[in-house]
Symmetry: C2
Subunit: 717 residues, 2 copies
Amino acid sequence: MSENPLRLLMNPRSVAVVGASNDFRKMGTIQALSILKDGYSGEVCFIHRKEKTVLGRPAFPMAAALPHAPDLAVLIVPSSSIANLLEDFGRIGTKRAIVITAGFKETGSAGRSMEEKIRSVARRHGIRFVGPNCLGIINSENLLNTTVAPFTTGPGRLGFASQSGTYVTQVLPYLRKNGIRFSKAISLGNEADIDLVDALEYLGEDEQTRAVILYIEGIRDGRRFVEAARRITPHKPVVAQYVGGSASGARAGASHTGAMAGPDFLYDGIFRQAGILRVPTIEDLYAHGWTLATQPPLRGGRVGIVTNSGGPGTAIAYTCDQAGLEVPRFSEKLQRDIRPMIEAHASAANPVDLTFDLGIQKLAVTLPEMIMKSGEVDAMILHGVMHSGFMVEIFDHLRDYLKGVSCDAFLKGTRSVEEDAFQLPGKYPLPFLISSFFDDTDDCTRGYLDAGVPVFRSPENAARALGSLHRYRLVRERVLSAAPLLPEAQSAALEILQRAKAEGRGALDEYEAKQVLTAYGVPVTREEKAANREDAVEAAQRIRYPVAVKACSWEILHKSGGGLIALHLENAAQVKEAFDGIQKAAGKPTPVLVQEMVSGNREFLVGMTRFPGFAPCVVFGLGGVWTEIHRDMTLRQAPLSDTDAAEMPADLRSSRLLGEYRGLPEVKTGALSLILQAVGTIALLHPEIAEIDINPVMIRGADPVAADALMILEVEG
Amino acid sequence: MSENPLRLLMNPRSVAVVGASNDFRKMGTIQALSILKDGYSGEVCFIHRKEKTVLGRPAFPMAAALPHAPDLAVLIVPSSSIANLLEDFGRIGTKRAIVITAGFKETGSAGRSMEEKIRSVARRHGIRFVGPNCLGIINSENLLNTTVAPFTTGPGRLGFASQSGTYVTQVLPYLRKNGIRFSKAISLGNEADIDLVDALEYLGEDEQTRAVILYIEGIRDGRRFVEAARRITPHKPVVAQYVGGSASGARAGASHTGAMAGPDFLYDGIFRQAGILRVPTIEDLYAHGWTLATQPPLRGGRVGIVTNSGGPGTAIAYTCDQAGLEVPRFSEKLQRDIRPMIEAHASAANPVDLTFDLGIQKLAVTLPEMIMKSGEVDAMILHGVMHSGFMVEIFDHLRDYLKGVSCDAFLKGTRSVEEDAFQLPGKYPLPFLISSFFDDTDDCTRGYLDAGVPVFRSPENAARALGSLHRYRLVRERVLSAAPLLPEAQSAALEILQRAKAEGRGALDEYEAKQVLTAYGVPVTREEKAANREDAVEAAQRIRYPVAVKACSWEILHKSGGGLIALHLENAAQVKEAFDGIQKAAGKPTPVLVQEMVSGNREFLVGMTRFPGFAPCVVFGLGGVWTEIHRDMTLRQAPLSDTDAAEMPADLRSSRLLGEYRGLPEVKTGALSLILQAVGTIALLHPEIAEIDINPVMIRGADPVAADALMILEVEG
């Protein structure tokens, strides 16, 4: 694998900035200040047509005037100048750039061709660049920050690749107050060159980064994305927020970075396949990412809760339960140990509820340590550790009675926790999270934040973050298999498709579609095509009654309704009648398919669809009439590994239908997986198939069998 | 209706506190300070056995020594003293009390009898009280605060009844920082006397209160709760958080207030019936409540978004879409008006994205006003209005270049918004919400908070709160009908039930259960009971083939599997064979039910179950084999009004199944509603029926018909 282009871009020995001046109201100046002031120790110089110095540093009139080529050029000038600037830097040998400037493909066709131009200039000179239309990067190791906001938190463990600039820079004060510290952050912009996958791979390899978060409005290359993520997620958690999968959301996204937005359902499937944890909000993205970056892996689902009030304890327990975690009742022995520490009316069972108690050391240290030592939990959540945040409030009431005592003196005289409280979480190899209504102005909250312990403003959020640790545990523990090698295309399938293409058809008929399926090992119903009444009856005798008779023509895509299908036929007379009925309904001589009846109400759908930018996607869901009613489906990109094919059925809300129930045997999910993989293979080998719809896949005994199939062909444009 | 006991309790002319001293580490003292220091202007005195003065006020050795009876007694003494104290206050004529003390029924049987005792003492003296095991009340009108934390926010519009004390008091600093102000807040504790429903009714009537929030761990009287809420929700929004509906959550709740916890599903149904908006977290409870308390009603679903960066705009649009709101593309005219205000590369369509721009007045005033005036939106969300929060960060970088300029001077020299920005939301009758990553230390955020404009720390949370306004719009617009009058009990039903009771049976057989249903107008399948082969055949001929034959015995609750049921029988021979098979499978002579076959795959369940503390509950859901697979059900308490019965089918995730689809007619939901109401009626008239299970209700044509029915009887203990 070639070296990731971000490695040099994030670690330049020298940076040239074009677009900064001595006017502090200009964005370029503000960004230059971040480079100068946040501790970056490499060489920084400026290009400015008129000024001799910018921000106290020498300025040069053009790139060619520089004493030597900088490793990185940061460009914050009008979009029309970017191509020439890249040309200049290319000539002197600069190999990396960040193009901050907006006004490219997100604005329409003129911008698009300007973007195409800068890309070709860059390629010619071997320049790799981030942007355009971005806010650049933050590297907490060398303290290089090209964004508009000062970077003040110091080095952290959370790597971020973002399709929104704001989320990398305007949030920095918010992140500081929440104790969240980036290792590296990259605002990707339009991704004309370096893209989301490059950034993901870079953060995946980066040793400083312990967890990766992604803000995504659109993935351009689904196959590369999933491949990269799957290499990373087994050993480093990746969390993503995706927005854009709705009518209104998609439009906003498109006008923002010109990203290709796809439906929610597609991204859900892709993230599952990649082992990426999806979260619904930007706050969760930071907080769950930070939790994963700082906490030891969760090794089981048992959560211990200590609280100084019942409501938050109950809410944490309830939310843990909903996240698939467990709040076990402590053993009698552990409860006996806890009992003397708490009020008689308080609960020792878990949650341990101290009730209102200013003896905060018990809450922060004594009880959690007792519980962690017991081995009865895999994670701890504490609610209510606080001191100055509350005491400052109380002081206001006490002021008159404590004449002459200052607030500071009062705080010193009241009990806070000992310093060991903030070290406790590091002493045991368990995740340890704090819930508090007090923010970083409270000395306890501050102590935890400084020690890298995640603090949540609400009980539920602490529990939900623990839920992400639990989800990551399942990702870490899953056994990933490689996708099977793609077989040769089958000649039977090729012939059918070539014939259809030659005839200029938009689809295969059901018989042909099933022959293609059969060629790749998909079990289909026993069936024969018949062009007249007598052939139909003979076919029915061979297949054995009861049979179904269906119109078989590529022009008839949907046979339900309209008299084009007859089911449960028991004898020759019924078959003849059905044949005649279909001829009448079709309005012209139409061959029929005579087919075995498969009964039962376990019907599934296996399908294939293509999204621009993604490999063909295989869909599995509830079938038959239930497809539209329940919309219970899941998706994976082809090729499907054994892991993918095995995980799809479990994704369904109604996956119980696959188990043994009401006297029906458990469905052979191995056979189902083979069908899913075969459909992926067909899609990859036969790009002329635009869509596949096998609906229903019936369950005959325990075996899935394709009872109907539709293949739509690409219409040449 | 009698006067609500909280009216006097919240508005006493005088308060006596028992349990405060001059020791500032005692909870009683801290609470007394809240009463003395937060502005309450009524008379305050203390009872103390030894001290002559407490906190500078005269103290009396006992209630009898008081110059006159206080309107309210606040008791913060050991639990064993409470009964005597109530006796003392009762004797002097005090009629209201707050019992803060814990250690009652939540601790077990000794506590339970102590609680019983204080209740009987209070009743004897006509004392109404809040608690025990609570933190008391806050009234922002008369500034009476009995809780442990100072009340510093001033009067607000949000009323709160809470089954957790912390959420009334420890959160006060958190609420202040978020600009959220209570009108009245009540910590309910064990509800030995004044309960959740009293508090709900009080807040419903309170004119200062514009929206009510409830933190609930358990409802004790479901019928009163729903009745009270339904009177309030059409004109005043009520939001609730319920925790407790899980194994672990329930245990935490029980040990906290000894509340009766019920399953999640029960509470979901109760809240829907009551028109209460359920939220999943305490932060949502406050924030959505505050939004409802301060914002004008939403009159349509169209949201306008103005942002200074794309990511948050996209996230708001996406989240609005998921909440059932719409982010319409602005008209060409409006876009033309907006265009000159923004950068060429920015979007004018909605969200309007200014991109990074320090000209904050456009973002805060010019653009939103233009959009609100256009009439094209029903609500506004702004992201990115900020000034000092960001500028203070930047100042750090500029310090060296602005020698001698202080941060304050710098802030004054940079543009913030004009004061009119904070008044803008009040000028138009639309909800107006702010999303910002800057907290109350930013001058813009502070300005909005002070003006009562809700500010959210994340884009998604702003959109989700707007979602609650949308949900409340649906509640406000629904037409509530009264429950139909309960009819007389039907003699046919009474006879069947009496006979079963006399025989000591635990259930009715299917035939009897359907006769009970028939007596109340529920359509059932045509069927006859037959005790021998010949009767069965004759019955089948009358009913007409095809028929089903089923074992009919109260001891056989579930007939599927085990050869006790035969379907699709076409002739006499098959009926005879089925009859014999059933005899064999049952192992003893067993009558059968010969029944018409109703075919089709639209199967529903109508059921009835009883939860302690609630009226009987009617359940509607997917039926047949789908009940366990999809777990798609909803619930209402009986009696069901027409509104309830009409709303239940729409609650199902799979409600599309009731519409016209695949050639099947739309189900007659009116007929379905009558079945739901009838089941409620049966449950109310016949308390000896413990559970009802009509599964499946099949759809014959468009009409629902009960195809199987089970009624379980109460077993006398």
